[in-house]
């Protein structure tokens, strides 16, 4: 099963002149976690995520220290700040990931799961020849996976019937190798 069958194709995208504030508003309004940044012809420039934007408002020591969980309240840093306000007016190019992970439309479900898992992604974009063609969210992958498992079971059942009701090894091979499933 290919990713192209399960990806969303009507995507919300933004241009590189969008401000951070507008991007956050759009992410909230459209209830998505990721906004691809594209040029007019659909060429992908980068990816903006809610997590990625919000991270920029954290103070520096978060990147310098390993254990910061004990901080409940950032004290003076919680006070009103002009810097924070002006930062919101900046273009999303400040927080844009210019080298996002992506898959091509012919990636399979499992391989897409592999990439999302490895790089801790919530959304995975599908790109062909530098042009954004679709996006798969975690939920989309879950739906695809369930269909795939169902199809798996159907194929196994068909094969066993034609082999005379026994669980022969040939059926496993033709239904697809499930050795990766634990």
């Amino acid at each position: 099963m290919k990713i192209s069958e399960w990806m969303k194709t009507d995507l919300v995208t933004i241009s590189k002149d969008t401000t951070l504030e507008d991007a956050i508003n759009l992410l909230v309004e459209k209830r998505v976690g990721t906004l691809p940044v594209v040029e007019a012809d659909g060429k992908l420039l980068g990816l903006v995520t809610m997590k990625g934007i919000l991270k920029n408002f954290l103070p520096d020591f978060y990147s310098l220290m390993e254990n910061t969980d004990y901080i409940h309240d950032l004290g003076a840093l919680e006070l009103p700040s002009r810097e924070r306000q002006s930062f919101l007016k900046k273009s999303i190019t400040e927080c844009m990931n210019t080298v996002p992970r992506f898959v091509s439309p012919d990636h399979t479900i499992l391989s897409a799961i592999g990439i999302m898992s490895r790089h801790h992604l919530n959304d995975l974009i599908v790109v062909q020849d530098g042009i954004l063609t679709g996006l798969v969210s975690t939920v989309d992958l879950g739906i695809a996976f369930l269909h795939w498992i169902k199809k798996n079971a159907e194929l196994l059942a068909e094969c066993e019937e034609s082999a005379g009701g026994s669980r022969s090894a040939e059926c496993e091979e033709s239904a697809g190798d499930d050795s990766s499933v634990k």
């Binding site: 103070p59 520096d60 020591f61 254990n67 901080i71 004290g75 003076a76 006070l79």
Partner: protein, 429 residues
């Protein structure tokens, strides 16, 4: 000069300049120098491979390694953050008290643990504390680097040059404390006063928020209280054995490795993870540099250089010492104090071979090299670390800021110990 001397000097100078220029990582530069020195030295006949291996001072490397492990184990427990945050709370948000307490803590820690690593561990939590309070982190970061550089000069283990000098001159931990301790204390106080005066404007500004720092749950900062306690006991034992190293015939390096082993036994961490935090590039840098300087020594260059000093040392040892303090200070402000110390050690040993009692020269070298490192942002690795960390924040330390504080501290501390050295000269011998 004979060809061996010229060639070895060229290779050494090339390595030195390469390290300074920072075009290559210092470890790679040192490796390059060492390889060239061995190959050329072997071919020209003044430096064999056996000589090269013997040049690597296992005492220095072993001591550094052992203490690195102990620090890594202690860091895992959250001990450094705990101590800094506790001190910050005790200061009640008063910037002056905060400066003195963070500076003192870093100094005490860096007298026993490697200076650079101590600063590496205290600096981020200092940035955190100052952020929470709404204070400018610069005076505290600079203060920690300068004061720990200064204070680390007092002990055998506080400073890599001291470790090397101690090993070469067979000086003990106690020797250092007795000869360096009082003078370093005077210099440290001078440094503190200079810092408080230079940064008086920034330190006069009140913190903007106290409550969040006070609300921090200290028990979640100190993640592994039991392990921290065990390791502190190991550290105490190690320090005790440092003091007793002469009567017990246990050189500090074996004490450090023993401490590391005990740490491993008591804490049972994931060994691979702890070893990953050991600064191997630093250890390799030292080994490679030892080999490079060894070539310099074996070619006879350093004994030639030493002859120049012998005359002055015979005539007026005190003047020679004072000169050494200032020359070493200036040199170590500009260039890396480690290769400089490594090159000076055989020089002093050669002077000794001419029948001069060089004890005060060792102390003068240690003082000069220790305090000179404060003068510039590159004078000491701790400075480099603090500056590069601050560059990741919104208030980076500029060279201008450093020179206004560090250079003054360097002059004040060197002047202070020049005075104490002259007064206590008899005791230095």
């Amino acid at each position: 000069m004979n060809p061996n001397a010229v060639v070895s000097l060229v290779i050494f100078a090339f390595t030195f300049i390469l390290i300074l220029s920072e075009k290559l990582h210092r470890t790679v530069a040192a490796l390059l120098g060492s390889v060239l020195m061995v190959i050329v030295g072997n071919w020209m006949g003044f430096y064999t491979e056996a000589d090269a291996i013997h040049s690597i001072d296992m005492e220095t490397i072993g001591l550094l390694f052992g203490m690195m492990i102990l620090i890594a184990l202690l860091e895992e427990t959250g001990f450094f953050e705990y101590v800094a945050i506790r001190a910050a709370r005790a200061s009640g948000g008063n910037p002056w008290i905060l400066m003195v307490s963070l500076g003192s803590i870093t100094t005490v820690l860096s007298m026993f643990l490697d200076n650079v690593t101590t600063v590496v561990l205290i600096a981020p939590v200092t940035i955190l504390i100052t952020n929470l309070l709404g204070l400018n982190p610069i005076p505290y970061l600079i203060g920690e680097a300068l004061l720990s550089n200064t204070g680390g000069t007092a002990t055998l283990v506080g400073d890599p040059p001291n470790i090397m000098i101690g090993s070469a001159a067979k000086l003990s931990f106690l020797d250092f404390i007795l000869h360096m301790g009082p003078q370093v204390l005077v210099a440290w106080l001078a440094a503190l006063i200079v810092l408080l005066v230079v940064f008086r404007k920034i330190l006069s500004r009140k913190p903007r928020n106290l409550s969040s720092l006070m609300k921090v749950d200290l028990s979640s900062v100190l993640k592994h209280k039991k392990n921290a306690k065990k390791l502190l006991w190991v550290l105490a034992l190690v320090i005790l054995l440092f003091f007793l190293s002469d009567p017990l015939h246990l050189r500090p390096w074996i004490v450090a490795i023993m401490g590391a082993t005990l740490g491993f036994l008591l804490v049972r961490p994931k060994v691979e993870e702890i070893c990953k935090t050991v600064e191997w590039p630093v250890l390799i840098f030292f080994a490679a540099l030892f080999v490079t300087v060894g070539g310099l020594k074996h070619s006879g260059v350093l004994s030639m250089f030493a002859y120049g000093f012998v005359g002055l040392a015979k005539e007026n040892l005190l003047l020679c010492c004072v000169l050494l303090i200032w020359v070493s200070a200036v040199a170590s402000a500009i260039v890396d104090n480690i290769p400089f110390t490594m090159a000076m050690i055989p020089v002093i040993q050669h002077i000794e071979a001419q029948g001069i009692a060089v004890a005060p020269l060792w102390w003068a070298l240690a003082l000069g090299v220790g305090f000179g490192g404060n003068g510039t942002p590159i004078g000491s690795t701790a400075n480099v670390v603090v500056v590069s960390l601050s560059e990741k924040t919104r208030k980076p330390i500029t060279t201008g800021i450093w020179l206004r504080s560090g250079l003054l501290v360097m002059l004040a501390t060197c002047a202070a110990v020049t005075v104490t050295f002259i007064i206590f000269f008899k005791f230095m011998q």
